[in-house]
């Protein structure tokens, strides 16, 4: 165990007292008290000492933070993130989008400042290229001492922070600011006095101009050591347990009576009374509660399955699932007789070479177990990983199945792909996560099957990565019980996590719904049918807190779910929540916090301890993992040290909604997690499927009424839908290539447009397995509404929807037979030349060449026109920077789409060209207008593909899908 020194001594003192009193109380032999006693965790199952020590530890850890819902992050709490010593290339603080944002630190005394060192946020480094430094003696009047020259600096990624050397500056406050309207964020700020190598800004009070949705609590609440032996709390929680157990029909009279007696005696104890007696009562109350907790009729099984593993060395929601970041050790274990006084632990995975084990699932009859395993190679973490052929094939996680006694082991998947989190489907098939979707533009059974005997390239996340740390996208796949018939359950472009099967048979999973919007928050909860049809949001499309909705599971006998509110930049873990979907689908309304003492990580702060792996027995009882260490924050491509990311932080517990938490097992050397009852459980309903995996790779969308969900748009205003296909990123490198205004644009191509009937309905063909989004276009072909998410159909599926952005709590209105359904599904009418593949030079430049370049080139027109060079070499940068970078801002990173606020509709450029008599009297022809509108509304990108090869593939697909296209 890693413990802070003060905690160790505190526990030691407690244990000494406790042990003494206990031995008197229980008549046990008194063991030697000393450092040897701390090796109590060595014994495999929890000993009495281990259990008692755990209660004390819980009092310290769980009592250290205020209970109840965490309040709004203050400016001071966010600002502290730039002086917390954590440098990772992300933002340490983050203001709102506002005029002249600033941040400042109070050095608490007048200091002769020698230099200031600034670490930038590396994915938006350009924002700070003209950063200003001011100082003040009193915090009121500031004087500027520096402004940066416009060059972009980084810090974390390149080891070259901005070093601002000052001469003859003495001040107490240092303020950093930007001019004009902007967000403001930095990774870290260091201040060094003249001639000293001591950062005097570290942990000093800081504040800033505003907070934003990205603000987080970097200033931990001061650790509050609870009063020794919070006996009142133990009794109160215990009595609530009594009530609940009685409802469940448990016989708890003896325990209830004993708790009442203890409570009575405790009240009699005078405040200056015997501390020893208080301690005795404390422990006795705990033992009484524990005995009762383990009598719970819902614990109608004797053995638990669990996993010992060291969490990944690179703590990040995605990287933690790659075999190459694994740390060795552990396996699958059974905790036998966990309710008895003498539980035993048995390993099921002897004989595996040293490696790592992930996410098990038990068959519904409780007789077989699925899990993932990868072999550990010490050198792999340090290797370049993009060329997978250079890596050992077994360093990737692979799916295995065996009987629960460890016999009959077989490997179900092969190859250089990470396959993990397998789950039994009701029909006997297996759904799992895998990197096998790879770079395919059209996902199909054929593609998935081809990965079984060849190494196909991966696709990658858009906002990070390099050769050392490629971030291969993994999504839902399925296969039959023999590992055959592998198919893509999902065609989503980005990551998906932690599948489970709900009572109604749907697959619940988290998905990174990061499509032309901010990358941070939207790891929301989705569901799909067992064949992957009807992917739909369950919770959290716009929700920031919690950030990652991971490990959702259906609760027996309830319509609610339990999940782990997890972090983006760490391993899976955080605060446990109940979700009642009937009560809403965003923010706090549908949630009940089960562990309110743990904040939602990252967006509410970084908790000092955390939960994971909830397995619900009811709405009130859960098997969980609890870690006594701070959730380890991610540090770019750099593995995080064992000290910050311990191999042994977590043990398994029985937790209830009243706050009682009983240790079931903890190994001092390695994390124990994923507790599952080793028993049969009801099989969810199998969902029938009309998907024809072998058939034509095509499906259909039917929209009932496009106006449903578009308030303010007059009926008849929408004439067509634009269907935009999204392609996977095939480069592992962050920011390369820049497709458009940001490093994070999705790859796109315009599949075409389809008609919207007078009643708002549309019915059209699309290739299956291709992620698409829709834009509702008006008479001019300008987008009035756009989707910042993706959907797709499976072969032979018709997916119906109500409208654009309709409420997710609505049934379709009963109006009329949709006009579009009365005819054959529309073919796609391809967009203008240069929209498939999407290329600015072919889509937009011909328009400029025809209408604009005559004046807008050096030597052409008047001086002003000549300055805005619109020849091919310069036009892209000039156009997207036109009007104060208005287009850049319009095209990038809004978390939600609003009616009428498409890129073209809000762009100054389009306004200039389309208004009145047009710019300089030029009336663009229809074709030119279409080209410009198509470009603007698909986020004004320079290109839609990540490589030449991908672009060639898109041309090939266009030919293959010709039957679905109306040729122009």
């Amino acid at each position: 165990m890693n413990r802070e020194p003060w905690l160790s001594s505190f526990l030691l003192r407690l244990r000494r007292a406790v042990k003494y009193s206990l031995s008197l109380l229980l008549g046990l032999a008194v063991g030697a008290v000393g450092s040897a006693a701390f090796a109590a965790f060595d014994a495999p199952p929890p000993t009495r000492e281990q259990i008692e020590e755990d209660w004390l530890l819980q009092d310290v850890k769980r009592g250290a933070m205020p209970t109840g819902q965490t309040s709004v992050v203050t400016r001071e709490e966010d600002a502290a993130g730039a002086v917390d010593g954590i440098k990772n290339g992300k933002w340490g603080f983050h203001t709102e989008f506002e005029e002249n944002p600033w941040w400042q630190v109070d050095l608490r005394q007048l200091t002769r400042i020698g230099r200031i060192v600034l670490y930038n946020r590396c994915d938006f480094a350009q924002r700070n290229s003209r950063i200003k430094v001011s100082v003040s003696d009193d915090g009121q009047s500031f004087r500027q001492v520096y402004q940066h020259d416009g060059t972009v600096f980084y810090g974390f990624t390149d080891g070259k922070p901005l070093n601002v050397t000052l001469e003859d500056v003495t001040a107490r406050f240092v303020r950093l600011s930007l001019s004009g309207k902007s967000y403001f964020h930095l990774d870290e700020v260091e201040v060094y006095p003249v001639g000293e190598n001591r950062n005097v800004a570290w942990h000093q009070p800081a504040t800033q101009s505003s907070t934003s949705p990205w603000s987080a609590r970097s200033l931990s609440a001061p650790a509050r050591v609870p009063a020794p032996h919070p006996l009142g709390q133990v009794i109160e929680r215990g009595l609530r347990l009594v009530e609940s157990q009685r409802q469940l029909g448990a016989k708890v009279e003896v325990e209830a009576e004993r708790l009442q007696q203890i409570a009575a005696e405790w009240k009699q104890l005078s405040s200056d009374g015997s501390d020893a007696r208080r301690q005795q009562l404390y422990l006795e109350a705990h033992w009484t509660v524990r005995a009762m907790a383990l009598k719970n009729p819902l614990l109608n099984f004797d053995n638990l399955l669990f996993v010992k593993r060291a969490p990944a060395i690179l703590p990040h929601m995605s990287d933690q699932h790659y075999g190459w970041w694994s740390r060795p050790g552990g396996g699958l274990y059974v905790l036998q007789g966990f309710k008895s006084n003498q539980p035993r632990v048995r390993c099921l995975t002897g004989g595996f070479p040293e490696g790592s084990f992930l996410g098990p699932d038990l068959s519904h009859d409780g007789k077989k177990v699925l899990f993932a395993y990868c072999r550990y190679y010490p050198q792999v973490a340090g290797m370049e990983k993009v060329d997978k052929e250079k890596l050992p094939a077994d360093c990737f996680y692979k799916i295995y199945e065996m009987n629960i006694d460890g016999t009959g082991r077989r490997q179900l998947t092969q190859g250089r792909y990470d396959d993990f989190d397998p789950r039994y489907l009701p029909n006997g098939d297996i759904v799992f996560l895998s990197t096998r979707k790879g770079a395919a533009i059209q996902c199909s059974l054929h593609n998935s099957e081809s990965t079984r005997d060849s190494t196909q390239p991966d696709s990658y996340v858009r906002c990070g990565g390099d050769n050392l740390r490629p971030c291969a996208v993994f999504t839902l796949h399925a296969m039959d019980a023999q590992g055959q018939n592998m198919r893509p359950v999902s065609a989503f472009e980005n990551f998906e996590w932690t599948p489970s099967i709900a009572h109604d048979g749907r697959i619940l999973y988290a998905r990174w719904d990061y499509i032309d919007r901010f990358n941070g928050h939207f790891e929301s909860l989705w569901s799909a049918n067992q064949d992957g049809t009807n992917p739909q949001l369950v919770y959290g499309n716009y929700t920031v807190k919690p950030q990652a909705v991971f490990e959702a599971r259906a609760i027996p006998g309830s319509s609610k779910l339990v999940f782990t509110a997890s972090a983006h930049h760490s391993i899976t873990g955080g605060s446990l929540c109940l979700l009642d979907r009937a009560k809403g689908l965003e923010d706090e309304a549908p949630l009940t916090r089960l562990t309110p003492e743990v904040c939602f990580p990252e967006t509410e702060g970084w908790p000092e301890h955390y939960y994971a792996n909830p397995y619900p027995l009811s709405e009130e009882y859960f098997l969980v993992g609890w870690a006594t260490h701070k959730l380890p924050p991610h540090a770019g491509s750099t593995p995080v040290s064992d000290a910050r990311n311990p191999v042994n932080a977590m043990g398994i517990y029985l937790l209830d909604a009243f706050g009682n938490q009983e240790l079931l097992y903890r190994d001092p050397d390695i994390t124990s997690m994923y507790p599952l009852p080793l028993a049969a459980r009801p099989k969810p309903v199998a969902h029938s499927s009309a998907v024809d995996w072998q058939g034509t790779q095509e499906g259909r969308f039917l929209m009932q009424d496009v106006y449903e969900g578009m308030p303010g748009v007059a009926r008849g205003a929408v004439k067509t839908l634009r269907i935009v296909g999204v392609v996977p990123k095939v480069q592992p490198h962050m920011n390369q290539p820049m497709l458009g205004v940001s490093a994070e644009d999705t790859g796109k191509f315009v599949l075409g447009t389809v008609p919207v009937e007078a009643d708002g309905s549309a019915f059209f063909r699309v290739p299956s397995g291709v992620p698409v989004f829709f834009q509702a276009l008006n008479e001019d072909g300008q987008a009035v509404q756009t989707m910042r998410t993706l959907t797709y159909v499976q072969p032979n599926q018709t997916l119906s929807c109500i409208g654009c952005h309709e409420s997710r709590d609505r049934a379709p209105a009963v109006l009329k037979f949709p006009l579009a359904a009365r005819r054959a599904p529309s073919n796609l009418t391809p967009g203008p030349s240069g929209s498939w593949p999407l290329r600015y030079d072919q889509l937009v430049q011909p328009v400029l060449d025809r209408w604009c370049v005559r004046c807008h080139q050096s030597g052409g027109g008047d001086g002003l026109a000549a300055k805005l060079d619109l020849t091919l070499a310069q036009s892209y940068l000039n156009l997207i920077s036109f009007g104060g970078e208005n287009l850049k801002k319009a095209a990038f990173e809004r978390d939600r789409s609003l009616v009428g606020q498409g890129t073209a509709g809000t762009s100054r450029l389009w306004h200039l060209l389309a208004q009145g008599q047009g710019h300089q009297g030029i009336q663009l022809d229809a074709e030119s207008r279409q080209r410009l509108l198509t470009w603007l509304d698909t986020y004004a990108q320079r290109q839609g593909s990540f490589s030449d090869q991908q672009e060639r593939e898109l041309v090939q697909w266009r030919a293959r899908w010709g039957g679905m296209l109306d040729q122009r």
Binding site: Q247, P426, N427, D504, G505, T533, N534, Q536, N541, Y542, S559, R581, A582, K583, G584, L585, E586, D587, A589, V685, A686, H687, S688, A690, L702, Q704, G709, P711, G712, F763, T798, L799, S800, H805, S807, R808, D809, R810, A811, P812, A813, V814, L815, K816, F817, P818, A821, R822, R823, L898, V899, G900
Partner: protein, 662 residues
């Protein structure tokens, strides 16, 4: 005191025992005739050739034989809560249950299957409707169990409603489309009031001045934009329908209706079908949602319609309902998902009352609120959140409900069981009350249960009965199933004789009914079920018998119908060519010029049987003909559908009369 209690207990035991012996003897006696009846089924299964040999008509339903199973369909509770009266439609008896002792204390045989019952305000007299082509209504002494009086009413009587003063009784004659208005004192039927199609439930305002009648099915075309069943408002002084309230578009299969204790509102349970949409999925009530319509009696208008489903969990086939005496709680049973909804009635009214009456014009959308104005409510799957608790019941098919004080009693039609929920003891849960040992379910009975069971459907949105009603007939709606392509909605067909009249569906796209049953489980319920489920449903469907037509006079064709029969068989008119007597179908597709506005490129449609034609309106594959007369006249302009152009109007009427007698 103690002694008398003991005596009473002893007496009851004896009564119970004798009833048990009687039931045993009766069960023994009926074994033989039942097996003979069953033996007919395999013969039928041999197909159409033999069917003709069985006679010119398919065998009509025999009076049902009493069974050991109770089959509760209605409940009444004594004013003091000491007795529950259970209408056992399968057993053809009323079971009297003592909630304190937890057992049946008396069983009263009834002349036919009881379909509804009500108690007078004193709890002294029990009024029972016994449904049959010639129904009877009985007055029973609630204490002694003696039948006091009995009189004939119309075809399939149900939902008896007694005025507060006990002087007037109203009875719905479901298949006769009439209400019997009975003067209790004189035992005279004052009037048989014609109403719209299939009056199924009724209730009377406390002042006795207004009778509301809920109609099970709509009475119009099915290919219209608006298709909805109605509620009739009847002035009991004038004895006429003064207003017809249309429920929201898609409303059908109205089952239960009650007026609130304060007399201000009426509530109706029904299915709200989204019938305009191709049936691609079930998520979020895409096909059928399940609703409660609220009628404001002060203005005699529909206040609104709320959905009883949740966003990811349907609450199929809402059926019985009732308020607590204080009017604070409304309880609704869900016969499809086997649940009870307990609704905070004042809170529901309050929430409805606060919504704007017109659509707000703001451009912003608040994704956390689904209902922004009253018009959003009928599509809002979150409206009841916080206003209602859904309570899982243990039994199957809760079709009957009664309230007494804080207790809600629910009786289950299929599982033959009774449960009680005590509203004063949160968290609310259902406690089973024993109705004694019961006979095992036959395959046929299981099939009927599964046909009505939405718990096997994806998310519980619907059962087979959500479109075919509980007895496998019709809901009168058009549905755009995917089995024949998208965009060509077809009228729901009755499943009577479906196994004997292949192929199946209006275009004959399923070769047999067996295929269609399995396709329905897969593509309408979106689930995978074991083969036994489909087999049981097959067996039940095969066991269905035609209901004698209300047009028959003493079970025989009327004079007009006999004239019509001659025309029907006349080769010049040509009806019998494709509809030969027997099954009244040649099992082939024909072009009879009925291709409609939604049909795709085909003129050939399956020839349906004409048996029970009287209850399967609207007509033709697309439900475009409201009446059989329309089929013979306006829907046959080119004379392709038999030579009806040459028939005189009186001949048409005769032919109609015959067709509606089958």
């Amino acid at each position: 005191m103690v002694v008398s209690c003991r005596n009473r207990a002893k007496r009851c035991c004896l009564t119970h025992l004798s009833h048990y012996c009687f039931a045993m003897i009766r069960a023994f006696l009926i074994i033989k005739p039942t097996s003979v009846l069953n033996a007919v089924v395999p013969l039928w299964a041999l197909g159409c050739g033999l069917a003709v040999g069985l006679g010119s008509r398919v065998q009509a339903a025999q009076p049902p034989v009493p069974s050991q199973r109770l089959g509760p369909v209605a409940l009444a509770v004594a004013p003091d809560g000491t007795k529950l009266y259970i209408a056992g439609s399968t057993a053809q008896s009323i079971a009297i249950f003592d909630p304190v002792r937890g057992s049946i204390v008396q069983t009263l045989a009834t002349p036919g299957a009881p379909s509804g019952l009500t108690l007078d305000r004193q709890g002294k007299v029990l009024v029972v409707t016994c449904a049959a082509p010639s129904s009877r209504v009985c007055w029973i002494d609630a204490v002694s169990g003696k039948t006091l009086q009995s009189m004939p009413v119309g075809h399939t009587a149900m939902s008896p409603v007694l005025s507060r003063d006990g002087k007037t009784l109203y009875v719905c004659n479901r298949f006769e489309n009439t209400i019997s208005v009975i003067d209790v004192a004189s035992q005279r039927e004052r009037m048989r009031l014609p109403v719209s199609r299939e009056p199924f439930a009724a209730d009377l305002t406390p002042d006795g001045k207004t009778l509301l009648v809920a109609h099970h099915l709509h009475a119009g075309r099915a290919d219209a934009d608006v298709v909805a069943a109605t509620v009739s408002i009847i002035d009991t002084d004038a004895l006429k329908v003064v207003k017809t309230l249309a429920l929201p578009n898609g409303s059908g299969l109205l089952r239960g209706m009650r007026i609130s204790p304060d007399g201000k509102y009426a509530c109706v349970t029904h299915v709200l079908g989204r019938f305009h949409l191709p049936t691609t999925q079930l998520d979020r009530g895409w096909m059928n949602s399940n609703a409660l319509s609220i009628i404001d009696l002060s203005e005699m208008k529909l206040l609104n319609t709320v959905l009883l489903d949740n966003v990811d969990s349907g609450a199929a086939n809402p059926w019985a309902l009732g308020w607590t005496g204080d009017g604070k709680t409304l309880a609704v049973t869900h016969a499809g998902t086997h649940e009870l909804s307990v609704i905070d009635w004042p809170a529901l009214l309050d929430k409805l009352g606060k919504l704007p009456a017109t659509e707000p014009t703001t451009a912003a959308t608040d994704y956390s609120v689904s209902s922004r104005w009253v018009g959003d409510v009928p599509n809002d799957l979150a409206f009841m959140v916080g206003l209602r608790q859904r309570i899982k019941l243990h039994g199957k098919g809760p079709r009957a409900l009664a309230l007494s004080g804080n207790r809600v009693f629910v009786a289950h039609y299929f599982s033959d069981s009774l449960e009680v929920v005590n509203l004063a003891q949160p968290p609310l849960k259902a406690v089973a009350l024993s109705l004694g040992a019961k006979a095992a379910m036959s395959v046929t009975q299981r099939g009927e249960m599964l046909f009505n069971d939405a718990s096997i459907c994806f998310q519980g949105w619907q059962s087979c009965a959500s479109c075919h009603s509980e007895d496998a007939r019709v809901d009168g709606m058009n549905w755009d199933l995917l089995n024949d392509g998208i965009g060509n909605p077809k009228n729901v067909k009755s499943l009577l004789l479906v196994h004997r009249t292949p192929p199946v569906m209006s275009l004959g796209v399923r070769d047999t009914a067996e295929t269609a049953v399995r396709a329905g489980i897969r593509s309408i319920l979106f689930t995978v079920q074991p083969e036994e489920t489909a087999v049981a449903i097959d067996e039940w469907l095969k066991s269905l018998k035609p209901m004698p037509s209300p047009r028959l006079v003493n079970g025989k064709l009327s004079a007009a119908a006999k004239r019509g029969q001659k025309l029907f068989n006349d080769s010049k008119v040509g009806c019998a060519r494709c509809h030969p007597p027997g099954l009244f179908t040649d099992l082939k597709n024909h072009d009879v010029g009925t291709r409609g506005k939604f049909d795709q490129a085909t003129d050939l449609f399956d020839t349906p049987t004409l048996i029970e034609l009287w209850r399967t309106a609207p007509y033709l594959h697309d439900g475009s003909a409201v009446t059989v007369r329309d089929v013979l006249t306006t829907a046959n302009p080119t004379n392709q559908h038999g030579d009806t152009l040459s028939l005189t109007p009186p001949q048409i009427e005769d032919l109609v009369d015959y067709l509606l007698s089958l």
